[in-house]
């Protein structure tokens, strides 16, 4: 099974993508399945291991949180940018230790932080497990550290480790 279908979820997503592109017909479905299996095997060739997902429920929850945060910070940053009072907010670098080690988890965190206006992933030191980000609207460092560690890292840890 795994030799034929290395990454079931991925394959499914790919098939869905195909259908989204080519339209939903029985013929396209057949094609979609065939092609996505092939594509998935391409990834297999790269020797990529599929991430060990533990708690599926948390994913949805987490997604919700993230989307909300992104929307919120969009508004916040946009407001700061248009309102002339640039001086009020100050930006700066924040370093924090991460427990999260799983690459997929880190990737997710990176995507989240980057997609969120106001936080930018700059450097991750794997030796120390230390993350350096830049925060656009830095009122209090600790607040940001807490938010990232509790709001994002914890659920990710639960999902991936």
């Amino acid at each position: 099974m795994t030799r034929l279908l290395p990454y079931p979820i991925l394959t499914a997503c790919l098939a869905l993508m195909w259908l989204l592109l080519a339209g939903f017909t029985s013929g396209q479905l057949v094609l979609a399945v065939l092609v996505s299996i092939g594509a998935a095997r391409a990834l297999k060739a790269l020797g990529e291991v599929s991430p060990p997902v533990k708690r599926w429920i948390r994913i949805a929850e987490f997604t919700g949180i993230v989307l909300y945060d992104i929307l919120r910070s969009n508004i916040a940053v946009a407001f700061i940018l248009i309102s002339g009072q640039r001086r009020a907010s100050k930006s700066g670098f924040v370093t924090m230790p991460l427990k999260l080690r799983n690459p997929a988890g880190l990737a997710t965190l990176a995507v989240v932080l980057t997609s969120t206006p106001g936080t930018a992933w700059l450097d991750y030191n794997s030796a120390r497990g230390e993350l350096l980000i830049h925060v656009f609207d830095l009122v209090d460092e600790q607040v940001w550290v807490d938010q990232i560690l509790n709001r994002y890292e914890k659920p990710l840890l639960e999902i991936f480790e």
């Binding site: 993508m17 989204l20 592109l21 992104i70 929307l71 969009n74 940053v77 946009a78 940018l81 248009i82 640039r86 100050k90 930006s91 700066g92 670098f93 924040v94 370093t95 990176a110 995507v111 932080l113 980057t114 997609s115 969120t116 206006p117 106001g118 936080t119 930018a120 992933w121 700059l122 450097d123 030191n125 120390r128 350096l132 830049h134 656009f136 830095l138 460092e141």
Partner: protein, 131 residues
């Protein structure tokens, strides 16, 4: 391939869709506005994410709504754009930010935390940037 004329778009869809489109475009514009106005690179790097997150999302939703309504069948493929932008933009921005950090460090520019700094060092840096 789907084609429609604006006349086929129901009014509600036109209104809602337009709203989303306007939001998306607006956010993107603001983002690029920031790109121009912000003083340091590390601040500017935040600006485009407006466009790549809700800017794109807004446009995508808008067009999805309009197409779906006009062609009277679900047209979701714009979603893909949203997904891919969300997934790929971080790669660029992370790598770019890191590169900038490296360059500033190796040129010993002020306002960036030195290599392998611990918290206190970073706080000082933050303080510097604040002042």
């Amino acid at each position: 391939m789907i084609t429609f004329s604006h006349a086929d778009v129901p009014l509600w869809a036109a209104i809602v869709g337009s709203a989303f489109l306007l939001i998306g475009a607006g956010l993107t514009l603001i983002g690029t506005f920031g790109l121009v106005r912000l003083p340091t690179f590390y601040e500017r790097i935040h600006a485009p994410t407006l466009g790549t997150s809700w800017g794109t999302a807004g446009m995508v939703m808008g067009s999805t709504i309009i197409f779906t309504a006009a062609s009277a069948r679900p047209v979701f493929h714009e979603i893909l754009i949203g997904i891919f932008v969300t997934v790929t933009t971080p790669v660029t921005l992370m790598m770019l930010g890191r590169s900038a950090l490296y360059r500033d460090r190796s040129e010993l520019n002020p306002g960036v935390p030195p290599k392998g700094a611990d918290f206190s060092a970073t706080e000082q840096d933050a303080a510097e940037t604040r002042s």
